[in-house]
Amino acid sequence: MTAWTTGLTDIAGLVCVALFLAVMLLGLVVKVPRPGRDLRPLHALRRLRQAIFLTVESGQRLHVSLGRGLLMHQQMAVGMVGLRALERLVSMTAAGDRPTIVTAGTGPLGILSRSTLHSAYETHHWEERYRPTDARVTGLTPFAYAAGAGEVIATENVAANFFLGAFGPEVALLADQAAARGEFVAAGSDSVLAQAVLYAVAEEPLIGEEAFAAAAYLGAGGLHATSLIAEDVFRWLLIALMVGGALFKLVGGHP
């Protein structure tokens, strides 16, 4: 590849990002889609809402697991969505007797989950409900994290679990333990391997980009909802490009 084509590819990449941003912002001006009405309903998240209400009613706890997102790695993106979802979930469960408990498997996510928890309580003027120990780093390797988070599931009077973050196959241990105790489990990850495992183990798995849509469906606000529109627009563009490219090659064209 020549320097000229490399430069052209870089510019094209930047233009794509700018277009993506433009579609997101345009959605804010034109119409913010409402999940469940303008966007297709997600069964897993509807069940999660129901489970949360039952958890609050029964005086038990919601456990949010944010996985092992690493700083400077694309895995952190799904962790960020998890943090935004956590903010929403705290406001949904704050009226309950027992506060939401969060587990993370890396330092940055541990710090950010504590900060998000504090911030969510502060926004709703429930500062007295915030306890730093409700956000925990439970282990620093995948299996150590699973073992530590499993202990939270077993000992903290948890009734519902929401796993949203970067996980590996070890997430099966968590989901299996929660299921064995009769707890509700909704789970999503950015890893194909974890998604395959969760499809078998979790009561309500989130497949593909559904994990990234979770915060929007939990009421995170305008840009979360419009980014789903931008994702759809670009998905159709990619499909058109792939089908077009395949047809072009089929008729003997050379790029």
């Binding site: 940055p108 504090h118 925990r136 299996f143 183990v201 994702e231």
Partner: protein, 205 residues
């Protein structure tokens, strides 16, 4: 606005790194690399904070005499390994021994538990979520596993091992995985842009 300084820093640094990635301007590229180096230091510091957080939780359990034995053992193992790593070089026999005789066997044991959990979950899935997709999922998993197995006296199963398994793995499974990964990539871009716009601010208090 919540935490305006943190928001400004996040937007500024994110913007510089994004532009430095796409635009071949030497000044931007150097600045991007410098910021990424700082991020590496921050990640290391965050790891240390995480270890402290973990220790704090187990120290509370130890002092409250709630499963004190387990928590005490964990604290000794955590800080013992830390000190060992500080005193001896990473390639030394002591550190390698720690990985080889302790961390690796524990990981392998948990992997064994995971295998059993997955088999049990696959069987439970048919009861919990009966339907065409569950049948398809289980059938595919079984065919892939059987295709990777050599039977005594026969060896690899004809047709399944050499034709069906590679086709299943390379065509429908790979296509599905790529479709999922495209969705994940789009979700990642959207998340990054929301942070650049200051819409997602998990760092603010």
């Amino acid at each position: 606005m919540k935490a305006p300084v943190s928001t400004a820093v996040a937007i500024g640094v994110g913007g510089v790194i994004l532009l430095g990635y796409f635009l071949p301007v030497p000044y931007l590229t150097n600045l991007r690399l410098l910021l990424l180096q700082w991020a590496v230091f921050l990640a290391a510091a965050a790891l240390f904070v995480a270890a402290l957080n973990l220790s704090q939780h187990h120290w509370v359990r130890l002092t409250n005499r709630h499963e004190a034995g387990t928590s005490g053992l964990l604290l000794i193992a955590l800080w013992g390994s830390f000190v060992l790593g500080l005193v001896y070089p990473l390639h030394s026999a002591a550190v390698r021994g720690l990985f080889r005789f302790l961390i690796l066997p524990i990981g392998v044991a948990l992997l064994g538990v995971l295998t059993v959990s997955l088999i049990y979950a696959a069987l439970q899935m048919m009861r919990r979520r009966p339907g065409l997709f569950s049948v398809l999922f289980l059938t595919t998993a079984m065919l892939i596993l059987l295709g990777a197995t050599a039977l005594p006296g026969i060896g690899p199963i004809p047709f399944l091992s050499d034709t069906l398994r590679p086709w299943l793995a390379q065509v429908p499974a790979a296509a599905g995985a790529r479709g999922i990964l495209l969705g994940v990539a789009l979700g990642t871009v959207a998340t990054g842009l929301r942070i650049l716009l200051g819409s997602d601010r998990p760092y603010g208090e």
